[in-house]
């Protein structure tokens, strides 16, 4: 829960933490390789594969055609037959190009085969809005993936977690989607050298508070933490939980917090309708109804495609102010 205590003093941006995570995996797992569009010669469009080709060679850092069905199929077939692939899906929006390979093959093969197949495949992908990349390059589609039995889905919110969760995902014997956030790439923090794990399926309490629990996903964790300062000014102590993992979801940590705060707000960047917030809200009401003093509320994107214009995108993405407003509503202030 408090990895912060163990962090030595070296700062890295999120993007380089991803790079280090992949590097550690390729160093320690001889059956691991990374394949995806522009990962080898170009070092990925985000830069997080920089230097990998030079260190690990063409057999293990593999440029692919722009063929997401093929790339994801490569991950299914190679993982089922003894490799531990890291598949790079450049934008999360591209899951539509390969949803059959993800949903009908990767997630289900073990179950369909009666437990006789193991698919240790990690998919790195980039979600989130904020760069005026518009409706097809900015989505947060984690709910699509978390809906699939057999799939694990994590959303590291910071550099430390990004590195540790990539390492944990590749050591897991299941398909894992690591959903990264493009607006967080330059965010810097202390990141240890060498290999370490951040467990999948465990949420993390980022700030302690007694008045309300905010459950946030991915980049929204930082907006939630920013809202804590503003809330303090009006005398509200909010407890921020970084969900970290969407599937499996750590209901226990959330419920334990609500037993103390009696109020909950779920925050994500995906659109509200059908977003993971609805599921979390329902779980809270199933598990902790008697502890609640107010309805569980949600802050999420409105039900529209992600807009292009900065003027619109800015109001589209939830932020600290919209969180503060919803907290006030929850507390009937």
């Amino acid at each position: 829960m408090s990895e912060a205590e163990n962090k030595p003093g070296r700062e890295l941006p999120y993007v380089m933490a991803i790079n280090e995570g992949i590097r550690e995996v390729l160093r320690e797992q001889k059956d691991a390789f990374i394949a995806g569009e522009d990962v080898a010669i170009a070092g990925s469009v985000y830069g997080y594969c920089t230097g990998l080709l030079e260190e690990f060679g063409e057999d293990r850092v593999v440029d692919t055609p722009i063929s997401e069905k093929g790339i994801m199929g490569l991950g299914v077939g190679a993982s089922a037959t003894g490799c531990r692939p890291i598949i790079d899906l450049m934008f999360m929006d591209f899951v539509g190009e390969c949803m059959d390979e993800i949903a009908n093959q990767m997630a289900k093969m073990r179950f369909m085969f009666g437990g006789k197949a193991t698919l240790p495949v990690t998919v790195l992908t980039m979600g989130g809005a904020g760069g005026s990349l518009a409706a097809q390059h900015s989505q947060s589609l984690e709910a699509w993936l978390a809906h699939l039995p057999g799939m694990k889905v994590v959303m590291p919110s910071d550099a430390y977690d990004a590195k540790g969760m990539i390492i944990s995902a590749t050591r897991d014997n299941n398909p894992v989607f690591v959903v990264l956030n493009k607006a967080s790439l330059a965010m810097t923090m202390e990141v240890p050298e060498g290999s370490y794990e951040v467990p999948l399926g465990e949420a993390c309490v980022r700030t302690q508070g007694k008045d309300l629990t905010i459950v946030a996903f991915g980049r929204m964790v930082h907006e939630a933490i920013a809202s804590v300062e503003k809330l303090k000014e009006i005398g509200i102590e909010a407890e921020v939980i970084d969900a970290r993992s969407v599937q499996p979801f750590d209901t226990e940590t959330v419920v334990n917090s609500i037993k103390k705060t009696h109020r909950a707000l779920v925050v994500h960047e995906a659109v509200k309708f059908g977003g993971i917030g609805g599921e979390i809200s329902a779980q809270i009401q199933e598990e902790a109804f008697d502890y609640l003093d107010a309805p569980v509320m949600r802050v999420a994107a409105p039900f529209s495609p992600v807009p292009f214009s900065p003027a619109l995108e800015q109001i589209y993405i939830p932020n600290a102010d919209s969180i503060v407003a919803k907290v006030k509503e929850t507390l009937a202030l």
């Binding site: 059956d31 390789f33 057999d59 593999v62 692919t64 055609p65 063929s67 997401e68 069905k69 093929g70 994801m72 199929g73 490569l74 991950g75 299914v76 077939g77 190679a78 993982s79 089922a80 037959t81 003894g82 490799c83 059959d100 390979e101 009908n104 093959q105 093969m109 073990r110 179950f111 369909m112 085969f113 009666g114 437990g115 006789k116 197949a117 193991t118 039995p149 057999g150 694990k152 050591r171 897991d172 014997n173 299941n174």
Partner: protein
């Protein structure tokens, strides 16, 4: 244009000929019996019978060991039988019993056996080739001499997944053979109404691999053409697209079918006159490889195995309710 394969005169060994025959009869008897079991209400769900196409699976699989991978189709029992699948766990799977290859979790459309190198039948048309390509990538990555074979139909040849897999297999020069079983129909739509070409193998040059056409009703023709393609793949020469012209005697699904008016009885009879097993048995007698009596003995022995397997499946327990959630995830770390 794809090369039409003419059969050479050199005859395989007697052992190979007898094994080819046994494979085909095992498939035919398994499928005819499965059809009957479905009619009798013993097999739930959908059943896509392979009867008519036996020469393809048998001729190809004769060249493969358990270490070579295959991906199959919705019409997949024949591939598994030819790959060494045993009748008892196969019938048990179709019956939905816990003694089935997939513990009753997969059924006809997902029947598989990883130990035999069979990466599953597949309910998604075009689902297999990307996985076979991934398995071939795995073989090349591990520098072993194993190959993978993707079976698919003329219908699947129009799926984007097949094109992506073929392009990547050629690009990476993978030990992968694409076997198109052209049975003239994509479900209920004749080939002339689903693609503008007659020979699917013509597409091979577009992928950068050789295209070969053979008579899929002649097991020796398939054996020879597949042998060359597989040997080429094993030696590092890359993939081949092998098209086998064949026919299914039963409807797309089930035994009596849906009564749809999409082909004539005369056409079915015409193809039955070219039956691969009858023609091959005549040839075996002519060549002095097997007597009629010996052929009859093969049939009788297989019939006995079928009876025992059906009894085994019938007596096998259904999966227990507590097994439902087993194998959604791999819990081993």
């Amino acid at each position: 244009m794809a090369k039409k394969k003419s059969v050479k005169t050199n005859v395989p060994s007697q052992k190979v000929l007898q094994e080819l025959h046994r494979k085909m009869v095992r498939i035919r008897r398994f499928e005819e019996s499965a059809g009957k079991m479905m009619e009798d209400g013993k097999i739930p769900g959908a059943l896509h019978l392979y009867v008519g196409q036996e020469a393809v699976a048998s001729g190809v699989m004769q060249h493969l060991s358990n270490k070579d991978w295959i991906t199959s189709t919705h019409r997949g029992h024949g591939h598994l039988v030819a790959k060494g699948g045993e009748f008892k766990p196969m019938f048990a799977e179709l019956f939905g019993r816990s003694t089935g290859y997939c513990r009753g979790k997969g059924g006809s459309m997902h029947i598989s056996n990883m130990d035999l190198g069979m990466l599953g039948a597949n309910g998604i048309v075009g689902g297999g080739p990307p996985i076979a390509m991934g398995a071939a990538f795995s073989n090349k990555f591990k520098k072993n001499k194993n190959v993978s074979v993707a079976f698919f139909g003329d219908g699947a040849s129009n799926e984007g997944s097949v094109h992506e897999a073929a392009n990547m297999a050629a690009l990476y020069k993978l030990p992968c053979v694409f076997v198109c079983e052209n049975n003239g129909y994509g479900e209920y739509t004749p080939q002339s109404r689903h693609q503008a070409i007659v020979d699917v193998a013509d597409r091979a040059s577009g992928y950068g691999m050789p295209g070969v056409i053979c008579d899929g009703m002649d097991v020796m023709a398939v054996y020879e053409a597949a042998g060359e393609a597989i040997e080429r793949a094993r030696k590092g020469g890359g993939p081949t697209l092998l098209e086998c012209k064949t026919y299914r005697y039963y409807d797309h699904v089930g035994v009596r079918g849906m009564g749809l008016n999409y082909r004539t009885d005369e056409e079915v009879e015409e193809w039955k006159n070219k039956d691969a097993i009858e023609a091959f048995e005549k040839r075996l007698v002519q060549l002095g490889v097997m007597t009629k009596k010996k052929i009859e003995n093969v049939h009788n022995a297989i019939n006995k195995d079928i009876e025992e397997a059906i009894a085994f499946a019938n007596d096998s327990p259904y999966p227990l309710p507590e097994e439902l959630l087993d194998n959604v995830y791999n819990e081993e770390t």
